[in-house]
């Protein structure tokens, strides 16, 4: 027994750390060059319109039910929070729609869309591309003189960039609809009045800038899982890891990009969201 333990310690100790550091370094440099290649190829025509529309359907249209359902539930939950917090101050009915719409358009809609799509689409892209890699289908594309990177990666990234702002808009309106459900259940408010109050204090810039920022989330959600799947060189366990890491890292990078852009864009435009 002692021999076995001694053997395992002496074998693993000297090699584990350097190999982990090497792996981390290789992955980081690989990821940076992958992102650079993606950005370069994104602007190079021709784009495969057929494959992009196919991916738009898979990524965008098929995510819509999840986004709509989650938006309504979130809208109900957020309205309940505002209602209970401001209940003692009175005039809740007039405050809720405007507060909800500002929260929704500026923060919750874009961020929650990014996170939900990271979960659904990130895992799908990571798993799909890693299976294509494992079963030699990516090599088969290359052997048929088809640029696998453009066909598989660029089409997915473009589809994510286009789909995210649309889904974020859907999410925002679903949250507002959820808010109305709560308000309607608790008070006598009519929909026209609610709708008018929703847009009372919201400006176009409150919607346009944060929604366009979700294109960055789209880039993140398209690129990270593609990197993890496309560059996989392991066995079936690698597929599980690629799918899991796709979700984890996409979510982290979506949150990070959201926080950074929320800080940088108002600063650059000389305008604060904190009114």
């Amino acid at each position: 027994m002692r021999h076995i333990i001694g053997l395992s310690i002496s074998k693993s100790h000297p090699f584990t750390k350097p190999s982990f550091a090497r792996h981390l370094w290789d992955t980081t440099t690989g990821f940076v060059s992958f992102v650079f290649r993606t950005i370069t190829e994104l602007f190079k025509p021709p784009w495969d319109a057929h494959e992009i529309s196919h991916q738009l359907y898979a990524i965008g249209c098929r995510s819509a039910p999840l986004i709509l359902a989650s938006g309504v539930v979130l809208g109900v939950a957020m309205t309940e929070l505002v209602w209970t917090s401001l209940g003692n101050l009175g005039a809740v009915g007039s405050v809720i729609p405007s507060e909800l719409s500002r929260m929704t358009f500026r923060q919750m809609g874009p961020l929650m869309t990014g996170l939900l799509v990271s979960g659904r689409v990130g895992a799908a892209i990571g798993a799909e591309l890693s299976v294509l890699r494992l079963t030699d289908q990516i090599d088969a594309l290359e052997s048929l003189a088809i640029d696998s990177f453009r066909y598989l990666v660029i089409s997915r990234v473009v589809a994510c960039i286009i789909a995210l702002p649309i889904l974020a808009t859907l999410m925002s309106f679903a949250e507002i609809a959820g808010g109305f459900l709560w308000v309607a259940a608790k008070s006598e408010a009519s929909f026209p009045l609610y709708a008018q109050r929703v847009f009372d204090k919201v400006e176009w810039s409150d919607y346009v800038v944060p929604t366009l920022m979700t294109a960055v989330s789209g880039f993140v959600i398209g690129t990270i899982p593609s990197f993890l799947g496309y560059t996989l060189d392991e066995n079936a366990a690698g597929v599980r890891r690629a799918a899991m890491h796709s979700v984890v890292f996409s979510c982290l990078f979506v949150i990070a990009s959201h926080v950074i852009l929320n800080a940088v864009i108002p600063f650059l435009s000389g305008r604060s969201f904190q009114r």
Partner: protein, 247 residues
């Protein structure tokens, strides 16, 4: 033989994958229109040789020439261009499993040419007929047996009439009838169309009858190379084993 007559040439190629040295000092050339077979046991490096031949992998050392062009340092668009004259049949078949049998054959044609749909369909039908899968054109690849998937891989690789065809263990996992059909297909390609064939195999019986040259690969090195008769005279025990296997 002039340089222009060579379809594939390896010059002192070495390749490591991870910590493993897969190939060491590999040199050979495949004259155009001939059949060159690479024989070896499992993990001898056969698939790596094939992948290096069309630039799916890059060598760590040495140079690889395809159609007389040095592809060792070639950029990706250049590689895609030279691959238009090649076909690759994978050991795992590598069939696109999300599209139908017919679409698998049509897909590379659609990407490479702008032929009208009717012409494309006719070409697909011909290719599927060639491998006996014309009745299965609407089926999905997952519904096919391993042998049928291999034949589909053939049909897809041959769709664009490649001048060089690379085959990774084409008899792996197929029944004897399908194996005979594959042998017939290869003979036909060699004799009627003059296609250059680079075949990786693990049994001498599979390739001996129609190979012009055979290279035996063992632990990443070529231990014998020449015509089937020349290789048979080699004294290396592994080479002898390959011939004894067939008795």
């Amino acid at each position: 033989m002039t340089a222009g007559d060579v379809a594939v040439r390896f010059e002192e190629v070495a390749k490591s994958i991870g910590e493993t040295d897969v190939l060491e000092d590999i040199s050979f050339e495949v004259p155009r229109g001939t059949v060159f077979s690479i024989l070896g046991r499992r993990e001898a490096g056969k698939t790596t040789v094939l992948k290096l031949s069309i630039g799916l992998l890059k060598p760590d050392f040495g140079r690889v020439f395809l159609n007389n062009q040095d592809i060792t340092e070639m950029d990706h668009p250049g590689l895609l261009h030279v691959r238009r004259s090649t076909g690759f049949v994978f050991q795992t078949s590598a069939i696109f499993d999300s599209i139908s049998v017919a679409e698998n054959v049509a897909f590379p044609l659609r990407c490479a040419t702008h032929s009208p749909e009717s012409k494309l369909r006719e070409r697909v039908r011909q290719q599927l007929e060639l491998v006996g899968l014309e009745e299965d054109s609407d089926r999905m690849p997952n519904d096919l047996s391993a042998g049928m998937r291999k034949l589909l891989g053939f049909a897809r690789a041959l769709a664009s009439d490649p001048a060089i065809l690379l085959l990774d263990d084409p008899w792996c996992g197929v029944d004897s009838v399908t194996g005979a059909l594959i042998r017939e297909l290869l003979l036909n390609l060699k004799e009627r169309q003059g296609t250059t064939l680079l075949i990786a195999a693990n049994r001498m019986a599979e390739v001996r009858s129609f190979s012009d040259q055979i290279a035996v690969l063992e632990e990443g090195r070529i231990i014998a190379c020449g015509s089937p008769d020349e290789v048979e005279r080699c004294d290396h025990p592994v080479v002898k084993q390959f011939f004894l296997q067939d008795l």
